[in-house]
């Protein structure tokens, strides 16, 4: 099952008419995804609160949703705006512009994996689960990836959620996060490299 949120046209029509049951279905489907996204921008401690305001804004905005962007993009844009408004109120900045990996994990990985001359110092780890299907059958691995998505640096996590989980086009990711193409590409790659390390480790050790 693809991870991206999808909404049938019939549900979208009912949402525009502000039908309570359709709204409940939207909440059921997307709350945790949007909550995770809010957490990636504003931090876990503010995310629940922000989502309350975001859901109210979503409910109010539904009759005017014109479908120029996908519903997914529209939802994430509202959540992003609510995060920005809340952070401003708290006197904090939205720090999505950073592209450096402050944790230094990437640099450590580089040092471990490459000789000084820029070549790999060993073969790639042997993967026992060699297809996406095999990896997706392993619930523990999925849980491990989920756990490590939350641990990604915030800006990497925001980009990763929009691009990999929702599979939004890069242009839309840039628009929602108000980031340049090159910044989004760097953040996405760093997130992927980090999670590839997680998969490598699991494949070799069977542990998260």
């Amino acid at each position: 099952m693809p991870s991206a949120l999808t909404f049938p046209p019939e549900l979208i029509t009912r949402l525009r008419n502000q039908e309570q049951a359709a709204f409940n279905a939207l909440v059921q489907k997307s709350h945790f995804r949007l909550l995770g996204f809010a957490g990636s921008i504003a931090g876990k401690e503010l995310a629940e609160d922000i989502m309350q305001d975001a859901w109210i804004a979503i409910w109010r905005g539904l009759p005017g949703f014109e479908g120029r962007a996908s519903l997914t993009t529209w939802l994430y844009t509202i959540v992003r705006n609510e995060c920005a408004a809340r952070l401003k109120k708290e006197g904090r900045m939205v720090l999505l512009q950073e592209s450096a990996d402050r944790s230094g994990q990437l640099e450590d990985w580089m040092q471990e994996r490459f000789h000084e001359d820029g070549h790999w110092n060993e073969s790639q780890p042997h993967w026992t689960m060699n297809t996406p299907e095999a990896m997706l059958e392993e619930q523990e691995l999925q849980d491990c990836i989920d756990k490590n998505i939350i641990k990604l640096q915030k800006s990497q996590q925001s980009v990763f959620r929009l691009r990999e989980l929702e599979q939004l086009p890069l242009d839309e990711v840039c628009n929602i996060l108000d980031l340049s193409h090159s910044n989004v590409r760097v953040l996405l790659h760093r997130a992927r490299l980090r999670l590839l390390q997680v998969i490598d480790h699991y494949q070799v050790s069977g542990e998260c």
């Binding site: 909440v27 997706l136 990836i145 989980l165």
Partner: protein, 84 residues
């Protein structure tokens, strides 16, 4: 001449087809010559395919009903206060 380290840094751009033509050619040429980089790129491709299929966690129907109704009630409270 690209080094393996360069390949590891630009794999996403290669897979997203966002490398300029000359760099893409150099990347592909390096892959032809280097088994370790081919394995790395394959692993990255499989990892991305896995991320794209991760199952979203849904809220329970009961919890969603409660939350949905609370939100709508709050929205209409605020509307009422505004019109008073």
């Amino acid at each position: 001449m690209l080094k393996c380290r360069d390949i590891s840094l630009h794999t996403s751009d290669y897979l997203e087809k966002s490398l300029p033509a000359n760099q893409r050619l150099a990347f592909a040429f390096h892959l032809l010559m280097c088994g370790r980089c081919r394995d790395f790129v394959r692993h990255m491709e499989k990892a991305i395919a896995t991320f794209n299929e991760l199952e979203p966690t849904e809220m329970s129907r009961d919890d969603a009903e409660v939350l949905g109704e609370v939100i709508v009630a709050k929205a209409s409270d605020a509307e009422n206060r505004k019109s008073e």
